[in-house]
Structure formats: C-alpha cells, structure tokens
C-alpha cells in the first residue's frame, strides 16, 4: 500500500487497483469543522481531477476532487452520522474507494506533498 497526495489536497491510499480517497490534514484545517459530507454514489465513475463530492463546514461548501480515475465501489457510510471524523482524523478517514481504470498520474509522495505546502 502506498499513499499519494494531489495538489488539491486529497490523498489516495493505493492497494492493488483500488484507491481509498480522503483529504489531507492541511485541507481539514483549512475547511474548519466539517458538518456534512455529501457521499458519492457507488457505481459512479470519475475522471482524475474530476469533482467527487462536496463537504460542508459552517461557512463553506468545498468540492473534493478525485486524485484517480475509476469507478466508485464503496463509500464510507459512517460519515453520514459522524462527518466530524473528517476534521478530527482526516489522514485515516476515507470518503470512498475507487477501482482505478488507469494508473494514477501526477500525484505526490507524502514528502513531496509536505514540501509543497511550505
């Protein structure tokens, strides 16, 4: 398993041809307290860089972009009742899992990503 980050602050934890998608610690801080996650639908396909879903804080609604292309095969239903885990433990909370249709491109390693924030 390897974790990669996008410029738009999402992460993809890649296991074989399946990627779990979440948001970075930095993104979570910027968003503030997440109060709602609009979960994507399983079966839906997304392009790399395409809008996956939207999360709401009290004063903002922010799009989450997919770091990889593919089909959504699982969503984290626990976020419906506990959206706050996306704020409190972003690096370990996935939003959905995507069966990739192509090898990921243009993503950064954790070290590269952290360096890009400076």
């Amino acid at each position: 398993m390897a974790k990669f980050y996008s410029k738009t602050h999402e992460w993809a934890l890649i296991d074989g041809n399946v990627a779990a998608i979440g948001i970075s610690e930095y993104a979570a801080k910027e968003l503030g307290d997440v109060v709602y996650v609009e979960l994507p639908e399983t079966g839906q396909t997304v392009a790399a860089g395409g809008e996956l879903t939207e999360v709401e804080s009290v004063k903002a609604a922010s799009p989450i972009y997919s770091p990889v292309a593919g089909k959504i095969i699982e969503v984290n239903a626990a976020l419906e009742d506990a959206p706050e885990t996306l704020s409190s433990d972003p690096e370990n909370t996935f939003i959905c899992k995507i069966e990739m249709s192509a090898a990921p491109e243009g993503l950064m390693t954790e070290a590269e990503y952290l360096a890009s924030l400076k």
């Binding site: 709602y36 609009e38 709401e56 804080s57 009290v58 004063k59 903002a60 609604a61």
Partner: protein, 435 residues
C-alpha cells in the same frame, strides 16, 4: 422637505473639513462631469402633512368592498388586532436579516417558531424561514427536485398564477411541464395513474384546486410514490385544519401562500410563501433556515444554519438565488397562529366551510347552479350562462365584491368566516334579480 437628513449646515461644514474637501459635490470627484445628471424631474419634496394628505387621497380612490366573496388566491379573513400590534414593533419592523445572532435572538426565535408552525400544519418535518409567495415557492420546489431536461406533471386545476410562474421559471431550467386536463379542476388518482410515465420526475398539485374542489391527496400520493416520482403539494394551509395534510398524504414538499393567516389582501402583496419538506430533503430546501443550538454556556440559542447551500457562499452553485425571506409576513403568520391556537384555526376553517356551503345552497335556489359536482372547501364555481358581468355589477351596487368572473358563464366564489348569513342572502337576492 426635511428628507430625513439630520445635519445642520454647521455639521456639514465640520464634517467636510475632517474629510478635507470643500463641498458636497467634491465628494464625487471620481465621476466624470459629463456623466452627471441634473436634479431629477420630480416634484419638490413634500412635508409630512402633505404626504399624508396625498396618500389618503390615493387610498380613497380605491374601492374597499365592505363584503368580499372573492378569493382565487387572495383571501380576506379576520386578522386579530394583536397581529398588527406585534409587527409594528420597531425592533421587528426595522431590523435587518439576523446575521448577527447574539443581537437578533428575537427575530431568530420568531422565525424558528414560524418554521415549527408551518411544519406542523403541513404535517412535514421541517420548514424554511419563508419564500416570496406560494407561486415562487412552487417553482423553487420543482427546480430543486427535477433535473434540467426532466419533466414535471401537473394539471389544469392549479391556480393560473402558479402555472404562469412555473412556466417562466422552468423554461430557463429546461424542465418540461405536462399539463393533465381535468373536468372540474380536481385531478383524480385514476386519471393520474393513466398518465404517469417513468420519465416524470415530479408531480405538482394544489389543495384545494383552483375551482375549490378537494383532491384525494392520499390517493394521488400513492400513485406518485408507485413510480418513484417526487410529490409536491401546493395549497391553502387553512384547509389543512380540516383536511389531511400534505405530510399525511406522503408529500415530499409542501408549498403555498400563508396569506390566509393574518395577512391583509393588500392588492396581492406582500404575502408569504411557505416551503416545508422531509428531513431527508433538507439540503434540497432553498432559502433561509433557522436552527436551534446553544451558546458556550449551554444557553439555548438560535442561528441561521445550513448556509453553505445559499448564494452568498456558493454563488453560481447555490441551490437558489433567494437571499431574503418575507420575515415580517412570517411573523404575522406566527402571531396569528399563536393567538388563534388549534381550536381557533379549526373554528375559522369550519366557518369557511359552513358559510361557503350555505351560500352554495342558497345560490342554487337563486338560479346560480354549481358548475361542477364534488366536495369543496370554501370556494366553488357557479354557472349562469351569459350573466357573469350582470351579477358582478348587481352585487357591486350592494357593496359586495362578487365571485371572480372566469368567463361570461362561470364565476368563482369564496366565503370565509367574515361572510354572514345576511350578506349571503343579500348577494343571492341581488343575483336573482340580475339573472
């Protein structure tokens, strides 16, 4: 010509000195002189006493009918004196939108209570802080629940005003409107069953129908649900004091004008639209919403909530462009309902029903037959071939605003708790002579 400017010449001079300019016109240095206009071509300003006289003159040029038997979307009901008294309190009247929650708890709580009242009356789980009108609320509901390219099904039994507003709004969203024809404005579940196809995303009905007839909301709801379409119920909320509510009928959204609850006729505005829905659809509910929460010491507090749906945050991706509600009219509704209570509201609805049915029977004896069979609430249509204008004129001479002329043969009548037996007798008598 006070124009409500509070400064003396000396004030102005001192203020200009602080700013560092010599006169008022110098404040507009950024504007090209050739763009500037002369003083507007309007009469000179008036003193307050002149304004009072002028407005009284204008008001006197309108005809106020002592007796009103016309509804068609605007209803004259008794308005308890306390309603006007509360809404004229300056802290309500002159307040802005309650963005600063700490100093606006009064407005926020009043809206929260209004939301609760409307949710209870419509039988829905949640309601928003109000919309411009029932017609625009209906259009908003359809835009939320039908995707562009989708289809809405409704019938010719809804108010023509609603139909026109739906047409205007939905055309820019590329939503088709399928209009079912009915005999009497009352859409029957069987008719709907035969017309519903899987490409219909939502069904919109109004209770009662424009011609006054009562719909089988539950029967219609079952048909709509069977194909998985969304069910939007518009209507006069006063009727729900006697009839099953939209919530009881399985509606997804309930909309309409709450004008019958404490808002005067006032030539059709400002009224207030209500919008109520299920909790599962709350993020598809446009407009302002007040939520209950607490402050850091645990005291109950209210605040505008779910704001990321709205235009000031989401801009072109917002659910709707609406950025106000009709707060003062919503306050009227809340005060009206607080004063009447359930028993008072039921009494009003009951009186409307009784007076209208008494009138229908009396009119029939006077030669004004009902145009359509079937149960009605407080409005019905009469059929008097070629006589509509004559009847309107005859009743007008008696100080009675007759039913609305639908055409030369048919009139749409409305009766409320304010119509007395004596008025109905006089109207029947005058109509009888005119026929």
């Amino acid at each position: 010509m006070g124009a409500y400017i509070p400064h003396s010449a000396k004030d102005v001079e001192e203020m200009l000195a602080v700013i560092g300019v010599s006169n008022l016109d110098a404040l507009y240095a950024d504007i090209d002189d050739e763009l500037k206009c002369a003083a507007p071509d309007l009469p000179p300003g008036m003193s307050e006493s002149e304004v009072r006289r002028k407005m009284k003159e204008l008001a006197a040029k309108n005809r106020v009918y002592p007796t009103v038997m016309r509804g068609a979307g605007a209803y004259r009901h008794y308005i308890p004196e306390i309603v006007d008294n509360v809404v004229s309190r300056p802290s309500f009247l002159t307040a802005y939108t309650p963005y600063q929650a700490e100093m606006s708890q009064g407005v926020l709580q009043a809206i929260f209570e209004y939301q609760t009242y409307m949710a209870r009356i419509t039988g829905m789980e949640v309601a928003n802080a109000s919309m411009y009108s029932g017609a625009t609320a209906a259009a908003e509901a359809v835009m939320q629940l039908v995707r562009p390219g989708g289809k809405l099904l409704t019938s010719d039994g809804i108010r023509p005003d609603t139909m026109e507003v739906l047409k205007t709004y939905l055309s820019s969203k590329n939503i088709d409107i399928v209009v079912l024809k009915t005999e009497n404005g009352v859409l029957e579940p069987e008719t709907l069953q035969n017309a519903l196809t899987s490409d219909i995303s939502a069904v919109y009905v109004e209770q009662p129908a424009y011609f006054g007839g009562i719909l089988d909301l539950q029967g219609i709801g079952a048909v709509v649900k069977a194909i998985g379409a969304k069910y939007i119920v518009g209507g006069n909320p006063l009727a729900y004091a006697l009839l099953p509510s939209p919530g009881e009928a399985g509606a997804d959204v309930a909309v309409g004008d709450a004008q019958p609850f404490g808002i005067p006729l006032s030539l059709g505005g400002a009224y207030v639209g209500y919008y109520a829905t299920k909790k599962s659809l709350v993020r598809k509910m446009p407009g302002r919403i007040v939520g209950r929460t607490s402050d850091s010491t645990g005291r109950r507090a209210f605040a505008l909530t779910l704001q990321p749906r709205e235009q000031h945050i989401k801009r072109e991706r917002a659910l709707s462009n609406i950025c106000s509600n009709q707060a003062l009219q919503a306050l009227r509704v809340a005060v009206y309902l607080a004063a009447t209570g359930a028993s008072g509201l039921e009494k009003v609805a009951r009186s409307c029903y009784l007076n209208a049915h008494y009138a229908a029977e009396r009119f029939e004896r006077a030669g004004m037959k009902r145009a359509y069979p079937g149960e009605f609430f407080n409005e019905f249509v009469t059929y008097t071939p070629g006589k509509s204008a004559a009847i309107e004129e005859a009743l007008g001479n008696e100080g009675i605003l007759s039913g609305l002329r639908l055409d030369e043969d048919r009139m749409l009548w409305c009766f409320t708790e304010l119509n007395t037996i004596d008025e109905i007798e006089r109207a029947a008598g005058a109509a009888e002579e005119a026929i």
